[in-house]
Symmetry: C2
Subunit: 381 residues, 2 copies
């Protein structure tokens, strides 16, 4: 088996092997983005997709070498990344383990436990193969899909969860993590079960809550056409995810059904406990629950999140054409990269306030640049 | 009783009376913003607050004439606007009805039914007074509070709900609505009960859901410190409201307890129905529920919302310093006012895409300006 890490183009590590080779199976947005990040890190990349047009588009965008069959794509590969739709992942992983006897095989599916079970159900006796399967989940993406919207930057700084199963060889896990770092992402190791439990809570449950809230308001609207007139910024924030892809999400939620069902139950129980406190007029208890959540929310941006440490500033701007242009120009001229910018809304609307998120390492220069531009920022986190 | 409408500074209507006079009772952010919008429309404004410092600050910011006592502030007023904290509204409305026998009295409280009941319980026999009480709810605000953050623009284009009770004189309701329009806001008439039911669904329930989700994740974090590592843009969207003011919200929710409890129950029932479909693996049913919510959400921006008609564009931008500066400069130079700008996140992160919201009347010029700047916008709504 060859080296598992790719050379950075600029500073090749001493142990880099020129012939190292990554195969991507499934060249949609994530697969092609992985191909582009790997190429940027100096890897040779081959690719296959069940749809010949898709792999041709991916080749045109990323420079990967297209192959007509899965078996052709994985020949001599050190690392195989399976990035097909979730329903095809287990079979594609299995095929890759068999077709590439030397390679580490990983995948990009957003649910892990069920997948590991499926792969081991077929391959369980073949320990030579299963030790090489290191399941993963790069937590990046885009609202778009398809190779034409891929970019190496999709992976920059994201959390890429690695979920070895009990038979996975530890050296393979470490080699994959090292390669993920070289691609510019941040490996985080969890068991498949913990991964599924945590994403149910912070990714799948928000999706379910958003969709349910939008569905409820839409149903009410049939009888109460004015209802959406009264919907201000808060409602919009809460329902933005409801515009996500139904086919993708129904597949993810059903694949993680036990953990999602459990997260929904915990959430519903919490809602109904709050309802009880409200219904009995217990203002002190309601305020105390809100106070705890507020502290947690304000602390969120100081956590090592997906963007690995951020600072959040609140800045007042005039509500007029050019106001955003001015503040973003001031920051751009000061070389401050804006990680996120939100025009914030109070419980009931309000305009002219933005929340700026920058990397924690830029917090000081951001403050200086804003002050130099005549702004009076308040640091929130 | 004098005229109920104020002259616009630029084009006084023929029936305007120079001496028309608005009194604001409670000069926090909303009260002082009303004072500023009224002054902008040519009204004389007097004000009172239980805290002498607050009314002094309001006077310095807005030019209202401060008065030491409620009774002094309302002398000769045509319209009295009560904008105190919610717990003091009923008593202040009652006092104003008695102290200003010629005036229309309205208020800015965000819950109406309970308040109307309280006022009528005290004043019910005095029909001469109660016909002049026209409850209201200007649905604007800011994350800040206090007169020092007030602005007439807080009211620009917002929905201002007017909720006459059965004894309210129709002519008074119409006069108040006409005055609201002159201030630059948009009057919408509802019964107190419908108002409370609708805001429970689209304002109070989102707050409860956001706080409950954040509370749940914070509790899990004690056992699972990695959980917030996996929290991407969707979780942040859903929990942003959880940073709202606990004292304000506990008061609002308890004041609207019956409607809020009912909205929470409907939401919990909907969540649990979705849980059942997920748990039994009914992908088709889950997808169909998601599809309906997606259609409703995409339609939301095309509704006559708070911002009275908007267009939403999706635009790809590079993830680098200056990228936001460039697009906002292009729009500013093209005189396009950005109503909202969001750096959007997929279910699992993603960067470099913004959603721009502009007034529907600017949709065409926004498209032209973006295309002229080299962008390739996709219209979402």
């Amino acid at each position: 088996m060859g080296q598992k890490s790719c050379a950075m183009t600029s500073t090749p590590p001493p142990d880099a092997t020129p012939g190292e080779h990554v195969a991507v199976l499934g060249t949609g947005l994530i697969g092609t983005s992985v191909a582009m990040a790997a190429a940027r890190a100096g890897c040779r990349v081959t690719g296959w997709d069940i749809d010949p047009d898709t792999v041709a588009h991916a080749a045109a965008r990323s420079g990967l070498e297209p192959r007509p069959r899965l078996e052709d794509a994985v020949v001599d590969a050190d690392i195989v990344v399976v990035a097909t739709p979730i329903a095809a992942v287990a079979a594609t992983v299995t095929a890759a383990l068999l077709a590439a006897p030397g390679a580490i095989v990983t995948d990009a599916a957003s649910v892990k436990g069920h997948l590991v079970t499926d792969v081991l159900a077929v391959m369980g006796d073949d320990v030579q193969a299963t030790v090489r399967y290191v399941p993963g989940h790069p937590m990046g993406g885009s609202e778009r899909s398809g190779p034409e919207h891929a970019s190496a930057s999709v992976l920059d700084g994201i959390v890429w969860v690695v979920t070895p199963h009990p038979d996975t060889d530890a050296a393979h896990t470490e080699a994959l993590e090292s390669w993920i770092e070289r691609l510019g992402a941040r490996p985080v190791r969890l068991t498949p079960e913990r991964h599924d439990r945590l994403v149910a809570m912070v990714s799948h449950l928000p999706q379910v809550a958003s969709t349910s809230l939008m569905g409820l308001a839409a149903k009410e609207e049939a009888d109460e056409p004015e209802i959406l007139l009264l919907a201000a910024g808060g409602f919009r924030d809460l329902t933005r995810l409801a515009a996500s892809q139904p086919a993708l999400w129904s597949e993810i939620l059903v694949a993680n059904r036990d953990q999602v069902a459990s997260a929904i139950e915990l959430f519903a129980a919490r809602l109904l406990a709050l309802r009880d406190a409200i219904a009995r007029g217990d203002t002190a208890e309601v305020e105390s629950l809100f106070e705890r959540s507020k502290r947690a929310r304000l602390g969120l941006a100081t956590k090592p999140t997906v963007r690995s440490g951020v600072a959040v500033w609140q800045v007042e701007i005039p509500d007029e054409p050019g106001a955003l242009a001015r503040i973003t120009a001031v920051l751009g001229a000061g070389k401050v990269n804006i990680e996120d910018l939100q025009i914030v809304h109070s419980p009931e609307g309000g305009r002219g306030t933005v929340h700026l998120t920058v990397a924690a390492s830029s917090a000081g220069s951001c403050a200086d640049v804003l002050a130099g531009g005549g702004y009076d920022p308040i640091r929130l986190a």
